[in-house]
Amino acid sequence: MAFCSKNSRNIIKNLKSKAGLSRLIKQSSDSRYGSCLNKTNPCRIIPLTTLPQLGNPDSYSHKKGLSFCFQRLQSTTSEQQFASLPNGEQNQELDFPGGKVVFSPEMRFLSESPCVYNQCYRVLDDNGQLICNSNFVEVSEEIAVKMYSSMATLQILDTIFYEAQRQGRISFYLTTIGEEAINIASAAALTSDDIVFPQYREPGVLLWRGFTLQEFANQCFGNKADYGKGRQMPIHYGSNKHNYFTVSSTIATQIPHAVGAAYSLKMDKKDACAVTYFGDGGTSEGDFHAALNFAAVTESPVIFICRNNGWAISTPTSDQFRSDGIAVRGQAYGVRSIRVDGNDALAMYSAVHAAREMAINEHRPILIEAVTYRIGHHSTSDDSTKYRPADEIEWWRMARDPVTRFRNWIETNGWWGSEAESQLRSSIRNQLLQAIQIAERAEKPPVNDLFTDVYDNIPSNLREQEKLLRETMNRHPEDYPADVPF
């Protein structure tokens, strides 16, 4: 059966309509492809118009799609070629614009699921002990201790801010409990030049880069010192000096941004990549698919890190997708990918380290699926015991905590101990409580900041609106919060 590129789709349609592909394929294999010119053979679908001067091989264009036809019509040679293949192995390569495909007479559908689940890379066992024959990227004591301290800091930060919301001191919060290893280990494997596009459950990356506890608190309280000028809900951090783009609540919208940014880095020949994070839920959004496809086509140095924590608010992954997780999708887009135990800080570190090298040196995107569990509720507006068993949550918190696991590893190495532990925890706790107090007492940004930054300059309609608003504020000051300066 000859397939000429332009008409391949027509041919397939025609073939399908003739009661099954296999009959035709069988026919063609019997006829050794010579039947293509036989008018009575249904196989011959190729309109003559696409093969000008069929009788004269020399007149063929060199277009890919036609080259096979040309070959085949040099009758004896090609027939002999096929004759020499063992029966049932009439595999040939065909050139389509979509690529070279290997032809097969056997109708075989690609299975919807793999025979075995995509393997998951881990190097530390559940007790934080190194698994034999594991390969990983070495981490120095200094880095390892910094990683652990940051993970513990993140835990305490989350606990205290969550409490602050419960006490009504901030309006909203969401925790990263259970995903500390993903946050910190990935950040540790990157450099400060790598551009980060977070979802919202990655404050650990910002913490690693040096965002202070005070800066976190300022944003949560939306005070004058908040870099975001009080415009967004708590946890919508952003810091240009840390190359961490501002969080937006919309899911997955950041993923294509990272691709554009990575393309820019490539064009500027920077020794840096873009990194973007999202959850299992985010991978259902169109922006995820758009971004992976664009990244592959534009050959951009971007690392996609999916925190597959099992839940999108109350939606378990079984209601989210039927693929074997996320890493397997990478191949569908032409993106190299890996599934990693997200609760294994060492594995995360190694995978991100390797991904970064490949991304930058080979100008390619990498997809990392970090499997984990969202131990906390989705946010302070959620009570996850409504949709999952409390003992399941507890089990993950006690038995599969990534922070404890890494602590075990560094203690085994003699790099950490219980005194260091209690010192760290009490110190961080005190710093946090102080930061919260300071942030709470601080002034809010002025009303003027309602109108700035909509555009680079304030347009006349906004100037007018500010003027009218101020008149209203003067007439009815009781309508307005006391802590926002006029």
Binding site: R231, A262, S264, L265, N293, F294, V297, Y455, P459
Partner: protein
């Protein structure tokens, strides 16, 4: 002069006078000018943008071979496929990618093949691009992003090759919406949009791509944004419009003059932020206003202009604000001539308003 050379059955010939631009940022008249059409003018603007800024990029579906409307002809050959390239068929990806590129300080010039297909990118435009600077406290911005899309009736476009979606975007603080009426305007406005430090949506009247021919200076020039232009002076009624519709309105103005009605015609050019001052000044002079656009009348941008003018000029108005717009239907094929705001519909409305 701008509209004189627009050919075709729908359009008349000649424009009595032209008030020079009051606040041109650059002397448009100086230097060599050649008569070219709209897509060539766009092509020139893109070429200049790519030439003058090594960090400018042009991308979208089919832009590499020149684009379905030839606006990007020759650019890939001249500047290379790293800077002028095809994207996959995915508008949300095109704009999302463009935002990321712009956020890194580049000039990302994205093409959406038809304005009718811009909607998959609506989330990226509204929730991301327009808020990028504001939400970050001005730490980040994607001002280098310009999205170009052909819009408007073309005679045979039907539902999905004729839409005028500008009203959706005019409701989004943080972006600018710009629509040129002619080749010379298009080149200068597009360069301004590209260089403006805010994300801009630039709608190009596809009807005029080949049909509108005008003397366009060959050099690099920019026309100011958010400045409306009075393109015909008059004392009896103010007409406000943008894009291809202006030439229809101009025809109506010419015919109205034969009946002793002198119309002042204003090209808004930038829809948001729009130049209320120029329109208001004109209405204070004439006491009457008529707005015309192809997009459906309900919720169209004419409604915003009308409400604003009534607020600001109520006591000066001699008649209700008139709107001559498309019908509240999907854009039809066979019924296009019935749907469109024609010269005669406008003329009737002018007379009704003047005789109110």
């Amino acid at each position: 002069m701008a509209l004189r050379n627009i050919l075709g059955k729908r359009f008349g010939v000649g424009l009595a006078g032209r008030r020079p631009l009051s606040t041109a940022t650059c002397d448009v008249e100086s230097g060599n000018a050649k008569a070219i059409n709209l897509y060539s003018a766009i092509n020139q603007a893109l070429l200049i943008a790519l030439e003058t800024d090594p960090r400018a990029f042009v991308f979208g579906e089919d832009v590499s071979f020149g684009g379905v409307f030839r606006c990007t002809t020759g650019l890939a050959d001249r500047f290379g496929k790293a800077r002028v390239f095809n994207t996959p068929l995915c508008e949300q990806g095109i704009v999302g990618f463009g935002i990321g590129l712009a956020a890194m300080g580049n000039r990302a010039i994205a093409e959406i093949q038809f304005a009718d297909y811009i909607y998959p990118a609506f989330d990226q435009i509204v929730n991301e691009a327009s808020k990028f600077r504001y939400r970050s406290g001005n730490q980040f911005n994607c001002g280098g992003l310009t999205i170009r899309a052909p819009y408007g009736a073309v005679g045979h476009g039907g539902h999905y090759h004729s839409q005028s979606p500008e009203a959706f975007f005019c409701h989004v603080p943080g972006i600018k919406v710009v629509i040129p009426r002619s080749p010379r305007q298009a080149k200068g406005l597009l360069l301004s949009c590209i260089r403006d430090p805010n994300p801009v949506v630039f709608f190009e009247p596809k009807w005029l791509y080949r049909l509108a021919v005008e003397e366009v200076p060959e050099h690099d020039y920019m026309l100011p944004l958010s400045e409306a232009e009075v393109i015909r002076q008059g004392s009896d009624i103010t007409l406000v419009g943008w894009g291809a519709q202006l030439s229809i309105m101009e025809q109506a103005c010419i015919e109205a003059e034969r009946d002793g009605i002198f119309c002042e015609l204003i090209d808004l050019k930038t829809l948001i932020p729009w130049d209320k001052e120029t329109v208001e000044a004109s209405v204070r002079k004439t006491g009457r206003v008529l707005i015309s656009h192809e997009a459906p009348v309900t919720g169209g941008f004419g409604a915003e202009i009308s409400a604003s003018i009534v607020e600001r000029c109520f006591l000066r108005l001699e008649a209700p604000v008139a709107r001559v717009c498309g019908l509240d239907t999907p854009f039809p094929l066979v019924f296009e001539p019935f749907y469109m705001p024609t010269k005669n519909k406008i003329l009737d409305a002018i007379k009704a308003t003047v005789n109110y």
